[in-house]
């Protein structure tokens, strides 16, 4: 029994994962609903349905969950040869970030009416989280496509060791600060209508969490503190640390979304620092015109990286 108890946390995580990924469809005869491309919804039925019912545009009414008044235009419906999977094509691209409600008239299977269904179509939540994370790390990399945190970026990218240390410390502190900022914003600032104090509160919060990590690390692991303590102060000077809380407040992110945004921003910063440090180590040996030595040539190199990161803009997870 004791052995088993050790794995309790694992079971917990699995349950949470199941809860996150499990999607309710809302009708016993419907197995699965999902988005495909940007303008299709696929419904999988448990058994064959009648073609006349399934391909009739009037059998379905689809709208986005927040505004039930706007019923979306359906262009056409295709049924596969086993008559179990219906693909609904819409006239305009769907906003797949939003949950959609799909109302059907009584589902007809082999001449039997199985009752009307109200189906929910949405992306897997874990997928949304991953797309926020990858989005912040690569597609909208804070350094190369949003141009934030440049002071620290150029200051700490001379050596690979410094770059990794700074990136790691920054990621950890930012994740802490972002989750706290989310809680403070949702539970204190918004209910009391103090959102205009955003800037003052968030900058204070970031400084506080830096101080907190500093104190805790000093007590718990002095060796680690000796190695990474220097970078802690620099976290406050980094404007990404204040941009992330402001962004998650503007976009009304949930707690998990805030966490993955912060994690993505941190990882993106780490990647940027590491890439830049690799190039700058080589630049030491290169023959650079004297007036371009140091910062100017680093800026030009960063410009080339920014151009390369434009390539990620086509990347999409869903």
């Amino acid at each position: 029994m004791k052995e088993l108890r050790r794995y309790q946390w694992l079971v917990g995580i699995l349950l949470v994962a199941l809860f996150l990924t499990g999607c309710k469809t809302g009708h016993q005869f419907v197995k699965k609903t999902e988005f495909k491309d940007s303008d299709k919804i696929i419904i999988s039925f448990a058994g064959p349905v009648d073609e006349a019912w399934a391909t009739n545009v009037g059998s379905y009414a689809v709208y986005e969950k927040p505004d039930p008044d706007i019923v979306l235009n359906i262009k056409g419906i295709a049924l596969n040869s086993e008559r179990t999977v219906a693909t609904i094509t819409f006239a305009a691209p769907l906003n797949t970030g939003e949950a959609h409600i799909l109302n059907t008239t009584g589902i007809m299977s082999e001449g039997q009416d199985l009752g009307a269904g109200m189906l929910t179509v949405k992306k897997l939540y874990i997928g949304v989280l991953i797309s926020i994370l990858l989005g912040a790390a690569l597609i909208n990399n804070f350094v190369f496509t949003k141009y934030l945190g440049l002071c620290v970026f150029f200051g700490c990218s001379q050596k690979r060791g410094t770059a990794i240390g700074m990136g790691l410390v920054f990621t950890i502190v930012l994740s802490f600060a972002a989750v706290m900022a989310w809680a403070l914003y949702q539970f204190v600032l918004k209910p009391y209508q103090l959102t205009f104090l955003n800037i003052v509160v968030f900058i204070g919060l970031v400084s506080l969490s830096v101080q907190g990590v500093d104190t805790i690390l000093r007590k718990i692991n002095p060796a680690l503190f000796k190695a990474f303590g220097v970078y802690l102060v620099l976290v406050i000077a980094n404007c990404i640390a204040i941009a992330v809380p402001l962004m998650l407040a503007d976009n009304e992110y949930t707690g998990w979304e805030s966490f993955s945004l912060a994690l993505g921003a941190g990882i993106g910063f780490l990647i940027a620092l590491f890439l830049m440090a690799c190039v700058r180590e080589r630049l030491e040996l290169a023959k650079v015109p004297p007036s371009f030595k140091g910062l100017p040539i680093a800026f030009v190199v960063a410009g080339l990286f920014a151009l390369a990161f434009l390539g990620f803009s086509g990347l999409s997870i869903y």
Partner: protein, 205 residues
């Protein structure tokens, strides 16, 4: 102390030229790269920075004798954050279109190293009058640098200045793309260094 012998006028001029925050001190680079695509952006953000710098310099100079040295940095940060909130709300109310174009950068003035540095180095030691002129110099220096960058990018990228057609064509479309900011700033810094090198060589000869 050389810094105390400077007159108000010297402080003012130094901020714009020999201690220019962007080209000389290389601080607060984010907006210089991010939104220097036009002269207008430079003027607007420059005004905001000037306002915040002057107001927080004066505030800190006024209360400099009452701040406990141990909590001076948090005090600076909160002072700056307060003034940034003021200018943020004012800009959002009166110039909403331009405010949207500048995105997060107005609110991120709070994290600008240049303002905190001036408070630490100057306003916490000097009287209000001197701090005011130092703040003016630094703020105008920032505005000047942003305008120069904006002018270069707008003129070479679109052939325009402040929205007026000057050249009639854009010789280097690349310059106006967002990702060109790094390259333009790098080239400008190199250019200023080169001028300095040439100037010093002339002086020696």
């Amino acid at each position: 102390m050389a810094i105390q012998e400077k007159t108000n006028r010297q402080l003012f001029v130094d901020g714009i030229l020999s201690e220019n925050p962007i080209f000389k001190l290389a601080l607060s680079m984010c907006p210089a790269v991010g939104i220097s695509t036009s002269v207008m952006n430079g003027i607007l953000l420059g005004t905001a920075v000037l306002f915040v710098q002057v107001c927080s310099s004066c505030t800190i100079a006024l209360v400099r004798n009452y701040i406990h040295p141990k909590i001076r940095i948090p005090t600076y940060t909160l002072t700056i954050a307060t003034w940034v909130t003021v200018i943020d709300l004012v800009l959002a109310a009166y110039v909403p279109v331009a405010y949207k174009a500048m995105g997060l950068f107005v609110r991120l003035i709070v994290a600008f190293a240049i303002i905190t540095m001036r408070l630490e180095m100057f306003a916490s030691r000097e009287p209000v009058g001197k701090s005011f002129w130092d703040g003016m110099g630094m703020g105008l220096g920032f505005m000047f640098a942003m305008m120069v960058l904006g002018a270069v990018r707008e003129l070479l990228g679109q052939g325009k200045l402040l929205g007026f057609d000057i050249l009639g064509f854009g010789p280097l479309l690349y310059f106006v793309l967002p990702c060109a900011g790094f390259v333009v700033v790098g080239l400008m810094m190199g250019f200023f260094n080169w001028i300095e090198v040439v100037y010093n060589r002339r002086k020696e000869a």
